[in-house]
């Protein structure tokens, strides 16, 4: 599948934003967030800004961005529509969370309730995003049980890394708990990605050129002539092939840059405390975002579509 910049930015930026919002809401309700009036509002706005950048980026790949509002109408059947509805709704509890933090204080009941609702709505958006991919039978690398938990976990991990950086940078010193959360989730991401890739490499495709053409009863089928000598939309959109060449190396980069090195930086920062953590945590967060971006690029580039069977390619 073609790794379009706009779609990758959608899931990486909004994943980090909603992950950050999730931990702000949950840890505030748990009483762990520092009761600092000046921190909550900018933190919530940065989380919403990341989410909004992702959502706006996704409209870039539309043929008609001015009609994007129509996408919230078909929530009964379409996961893309559900994502639109839930992502727009999330702004309400998130803005209420920010307002309550400023007016009633970080640990007021109304703030905690709004925070938890915003946290859950944000994560529901990420789940809907994952289901857009998981509900497509022609792409076996997406249509499986690994994809929704993978995307949710990576959203939680990148959000936690961003929040740890922000807490440490802003409040100088209160970021240890966040960093510990980011550390544990980062290790979880490594395990989840390896499990997904191992499955993906071993699981054979249930569709073949024989089932696609129905000619398997005669014998093995191979392409004699393609219908056209130039590329077309199908091959450009669904037949992207560059990812497979550098796949293993890019998987290593995604895991190493995204989770292994950040985990080391986070643990060193937790042990040393400030001022080292003030430098280490932001680096860890930036690296996590880069790693997730590479991971998401691979998520597209290594996904194969059954239409390419008709062009004699393997899926």
């Amino acid at each position: 599948m073609n790794p379009a910049f706009s779609v990758i930015l959608l899931t990486t930026a909004s994943g980090a934003g909603y992950g950050m919002l999730f931990w702000l809401g949950i840890l505030d309700a748990a009483g762990v967030m520092p009761p600092n009036l000046s921190f909550g509002i900018p933190a919530i706005f940065i989380a919403l800004a990341l989410a909004s950048i992702g959502l706006l980026a996704s409209t870039l790949h539309l043929g008609h961005p001015e009609r994007a509002w129509r996408a919230i109408s078909q929530w009964r059947s379409s996961w893309l529509s559900r994502e639109g509805v839930v992502s727009l709704f999330t702004y309400l509890p998130a803005l209420a969370f920010a307002a309550a933090w400023g007016i009633a204080g970080p640990h007021a009941v109304v703030t905690m309730v709004a925070g938890v609702v915003a946290a859950l709505c944000g994560m529901l958006t990420v789940f809907c995003q994952a289901m857009i991919y998981a509900s497509l039978p022609p792409v076996r690398q997406w249509h499986n049980r690994f994809v929704p938990p993978n995307l949710v976990l990576l959203s939680l991990a990148s959000g936690a890394a961003c929040l740890a950086a922000m807490v440490t940078f802003w409040l100088s010193g209160a970021g240890r708990i966040m960093a510990a959360v980011a550390f544990v989730l980062g290790l979880g991401c490594i395990a989840a990605k390896i499990a997904y890739w191992r499955w993906m490499d071993r699981e054979p495709s249930s569709s073949t050129i024989e089932s696609a053409t129905g000619l398997g009863t005669i014998g093995a089928v191979r392409q004699l002539e393609a219908p056209h000598i130039e590329e077309n939309f199908l091959l450009r959109e669904m037949g992207f092939r560059i990812g497979r060449k550098h796949g293993d190396r890019l998987r290593g980069i995604a895991i190493g840059v995204g989770f292994v090195v950040p985990a080391i930086l986070l643990i060193v920062g937790i042990i040393l405390g400030n001022p080292a953590a003030t430098v280490l945590f932001p680096i860890a967060a930036a690296m996590t975002l880069v790693g997730v971006y590479v991971e998401r690029w691979l998520f597209f580039a290594q996904a194969t579509h059954t239409v390419t069977l008709y062009y004699g390619r393997a899926v």
């Binding site: 599948m1 696609a212 129905g214 219908p227 059954t306």
Partner: protein, 243 residues
């Protein structure tokens, strides 16, 4: 509405039956499809750099050619590929806007290009590659089963079939109601063992493909004496008569 209309027994299911035994791979169906539809329901079917080095464009019908099997019993099969107007079309249910829909009255899957946002998700959801994005207009295009021909009272009744069917010189394409077991196309499917493409994906295509007819098997190794009999035309006659 992108929910699939509830289906009742004996419901009209218009579709195509494509005979892979008689298709000669001439691409006339694809060309006439392009010709009709570039001024029909989805007009225009745009092209990009049509007279340059890398011409590309929107086509709703594409003809592939395959070889199946090896040796003297292998077959060359020409294979037209277009929308199958599935009974469970995920291209419809994934659509976030309601632009993609399946008609309750005849089962035809269509796109309302007035409200399509061009997100391309329907093309990802189609296992068969039936949908092509029109980069010029920013909307998705697909086979309409020529709704502007089959119900068109301004053309003679005999021509009220999809353009691909009307143009096929080998009579390899048949159009009719596959929901009616007594229809000519349903009988043809029953008689010839018509099948679904990629049944494992669960989309339940309405269009059916008729397999190439079985031929008497040919021995894997040609008889050695056939090589010694004559040259030129005599050798050819000998080989034909020796079959």
């Amino acid at each position: 509405m992108t929910s699939i209309p509830t289906q009742t027994a004996g419901q009209k299911k218009l579709g195509l039956v494509i005979d892979l035994d008689t298709c000669v791979g001439c691409h006339a169906c694809a060309v006439n499809c392009k010709e009709w539809n570039t001024s029909g329901h989805f007009a225009p079917l745009t092209d990009f750099d049509p007279y340059q080095e890398h011409p590309q464009g929107v086509w709703l019908n594409r003809v592939h050619s395959y070889e199946a099997g090896t040796g003297p019993n292998s077959r060359t099969v020409h294979f037209p590929r277009s929308c199958l107007h599935c009974e469970q079309p995920a291209c419809v249910t994934v659509c976030p806007t309601g632009a993609s829909y399946k008609r309750a009255e005849d089962g035809i899957v269509l796109v309302n290009t007035e409200i399509c946002i061009g997100c391309k998700l329907c093309s990802w959801a189609c296992p068969y590659g039936a949908r092509e994005f029109d980069e010029d207009q920013g909307v998705m295009k697909k086979c309409t089963l020529c709704i502007d021909r089959i119900y068109n009272e301004n053309i003679p009744e005999a021509e009220r079939v999809p353009a691909c069917v009307s143009t096929c010189p080998a009579h390899a394409r048949h159009f009719g109601d596959l929901g009616d077991p007594a229809s000519a196309v349903s009988q043809l499917v029953a008689e010839r063992g018509g099948y679904d493409l990629m049944p494992e994906t669960g989309y339940k295509p309405v269009n059916k493909y008729l397999p190439p007819r079985r031929r008497p098997p040919v021995a894997e190794t040609a008889p050695a004496e056939a090589e010694s009999a004559g040259t030129g035309v005599l050798r050819w006659i000998d080989r034909v008569l020796s079959r």
